[in-house]
Point group: D2
């Protein structure tokens, strides 16, 4: 079981780079007496952008007061920002098809306290995951989905997601394409795992393509979903060494571990408010 | 300094898979009293192919007799094969342009005894590598090469390579494209290093492309050169983790180590007769 | 779901190295018409030992006849050997304490068909794992164990293990020491996971020790259990990069993934008869 | 060739953690109009320590004025600090014995512009490295050193190092032990490479020890030298996978690449003022 964490707030900032940003933000937090536990910033010199993440304890801290002062600062520096407290657990839905290893992995991690969120809903176009969902006490709904009924299926999915009030959707090997319309409802709110080292082997059957090309390492990639296929901002990637001894089914088997790892890391970092996305890239504050 | 090695022979075999191959080859070696120090075989079930590598000591071994018996076996089983003794050191030429890190790395490894070969010739389209070649006592020739004079330049290169009697050509960041005509003179005899995790980022400026795509790992690939651009059989790949903190020049710097490693490994394995290439793939006997 | 596998036999051999071993074994298999799907051998020149693993299809194969002929060969060459058919699924028990991540990981892999075995029994000195065992339909027994009642507790455990007829015991973060007496009942039949890169940080609280020493990589190790603490033959190790930003609890969290991976790989390789252990080392046929 | 870098200053700070540190330092830099290109900070909550690294452009910056103001701040917050400008290239000496791969690697990197320093002196207890030093135009001095003449030899070494005015000493596989007296002259100014994954296999012949223990990964470690053997703050570690096929000499050969990598990274980070050392650990600002 995870030890209960202290209440803390996380501030995530993106804005045009300019002098005095760190001084201003840290100065204001100091004025409010913030007990900072982590702070990190990043500059993208090429794009002229500045990124910052600060986390501080909420005990004896006037959050409402700070927020109202900070809103003025944010406007002055043209910031995109979010301010979250860790006591409000994000709500997450998982979409899955017939490969259950990522779903099973996420649920065991959630059960063991590795993922700080609530998971009220699992959606699938098959019923394979039902007993797993039931064991974990999570609502499991089957919505048949295919190229033929895409619009209709997505309408049903969106309704259930809205009712479940989720802010993050995890595609745990969900094998249907999402339309731009669906994606537009959750900007930077849908995380997918692709079973290759993107941008190599975009699209279907990447392990077969990797085997055919004779690569010496296979990979997996977690990324935010955008309108383009397998084209969103990459969150995490990992690889495993293979050899000529490995057949396609060995690549599939080894790849499952990569998929589990890169997807669960991406979800955890998202939940911990460690990711800022911009220009089809991500900053991961560690 | 490397310890002097015992004389040994290496037999590399590729043929259609069929029953009795290992029994026949190992039986014949046993009949000749071979003292085997390494033996490995591989089957590609999909393609129905069999591969074998055997290495044995030459002391008290009738190599000529074995060769003549083996020729019959090879014919019977439709084998492609080579039989080499390690006392005949392969002769190698290196082609390089202005990035000298792979050349410098190969030469220091050669000097320290990590690469069992002779290097009689370095060819370049620039003169940057000259002092390095001179220090190592290797003939260094500049042949200007560009899209404009390709045929003529390659003619000169081929002449020098033929005179130097090399069996392996290493492209140590040689930035000119080789024509299919050139490549045809050295089938599976040209090793290139590409500064990406192929097949991602084929072609020019792969680190810039990787940076633009926002990948979380960069890679390098060594491969045999074929007529297609960056499309030959992959010998080795490796990757390094990068983060949002890394700019393009950081990718270039980190990539240099990957290039050094994957190229030097490929050359060493080739020299040790550990590689069999087929269907645009490689078997690496380790 | 795993595709049903063809029936196959695996022969594992260890013996003093001598000429003609491969020729004799492969010759005999050829004489029986074996359709070999994998074969690999290894020589430890320093110890003068030979190791071999062969796997072949059982269809149209006279296994009893081969076994009786092979027994003579084995005697002649002084072989230690085992011959197993993959249709007899090994029976496995898992021992666990309060950290459930390795147990949960093994059970989901078993459910998804990654581990070819039956798991009739889970033993624990705590009841935390009960609901997980129940969901997977596995008998779960609590036997209180501590330094005080070790002999008595082990007696009960051994009785249950004997009744369950298991050949492999997996210590999935089981936090009690096993006595030499217990271990002697299952030579090379108990696999443990230690949460460090052995032989660094033997014993209790290795993540704290790693943090104190300021290492830049943490590791995990799976190994066969012998009489000495954390001293048995190593099966698999893996590491993860950490930085100064990681506190002890971050090491523990990252380490959980390493423990899951190295333990599940060790169990899979053992079940697939890929491991030969000798002189406190392992040969892993891949 | 490296592109010429802009002049910049780096400030490295260690002090007891307290509120307002980032606000004060970044506020003062803002007041002086600093154009910050990198800034990072770290808190060790357990030890109650704060670390910061800031790098900014020197153009139009009153460095002397800032330094005098900052001295007051540093005194107030009880800071240990250094302020360096990158136009003053550090002077480095290398000590080496008979294994030359790390020396050769460092020199080629230096030649290619990867290490921003001057190397006026190489010291050795053997003359193997002489031609390499000569090619690179570096003074090479042989001082015989053994347990018998340690004090005398170190006296000569210290004299030469003092004359060469070096601030960093790199032990590139220098196989003699340095006395505490010698080490005391260069606190956090001597970097060593140890050919194991410390703290495993401290002392002599670590590859033999690793082989004997049957590990599945070998490692190398770069660290600052302190009075205790192989016990100083670890800067970098890396590992490579090995298998039962690798004999001791294979471990030695693969280990050379690990040694090259971890030593060259440590030297580069030290030269770039990215390392702060405390409590036998290091913070590596990346």
């Amino acid at each position: 079981m995870p030890t209960p964490k202290n209440s803390s707030a996380v501030l995530l900032i993106t804005c045009p780079d300019q002098k005095g940003l760190v001084a201003t933000v840290s100065g204001e937090l100091y004025r409010f007496g913030a007990n900072i536990i982590h702070a990190d910033q990043h500059q993208d010199h090429e794009e002229g952008l500045f990124f910052m993440r600060v986390e501080w304890l909420l005990e004896d801290f006037d959050l409402a007061g700070f927020r109202s002062v900070f809103e003025e600062i944010a406007a002055r520096f043209n910031m995109t920002w979010q301010l979250k407290v860790n006591t409000e657990r994000p709500r997450v839905a998982i979409l899955v098809s017939q490969h259950l290893h990522c779903l099973a992995d996420l649920l065991q991690r959630h059960q063991l306290g590795e993922l700080e969120c609530d998971i009220p809903l699992i959606l699938s176009n098959h019923n394979d995951g039902e007993s797993l969902a039931k064991y974990h006490g999570i609502d499991f709904r089957v919505i048949e989905a295919s190229a033929a009924n895409r619009a209709e299926a997505e309408e049903k999915q969106l309704t259930l997601l809205r009712e479940a009030n989720v802010e993050l959707i995890v595609l745990a090997r969900y094998m249907q394409i999402l339309t731009p319309n669906f994606v537009a409802h959750y900007p930077f709110g849908i995380i997918n795992v692709h079973h290759s080292f993107l941008p190599a082997f975009i699209g279907a059957r990447p392990y077969h393509a990797a085997f055919g090309r004779g690569v010496k390492l296979i990979g997996a990639t977690s990324h935010y979903v955008t309108a383009g296929l397998d084209d969103g901002p990459i969150i995490e990637q990992d690889v495993a060494r293979i050899s000529h001894r490995d057949q396609v089914q060995d690549l599939v088997a080894r790849g499952r571990d990569l998929e589990r790892l890169v997807l669960s890391r991406a979800v955890r970092w998202h939940l911990d408010r460690r990711i800022v996305s911009y220009r089809n890239k991500t900053v991961i504050f560690d």
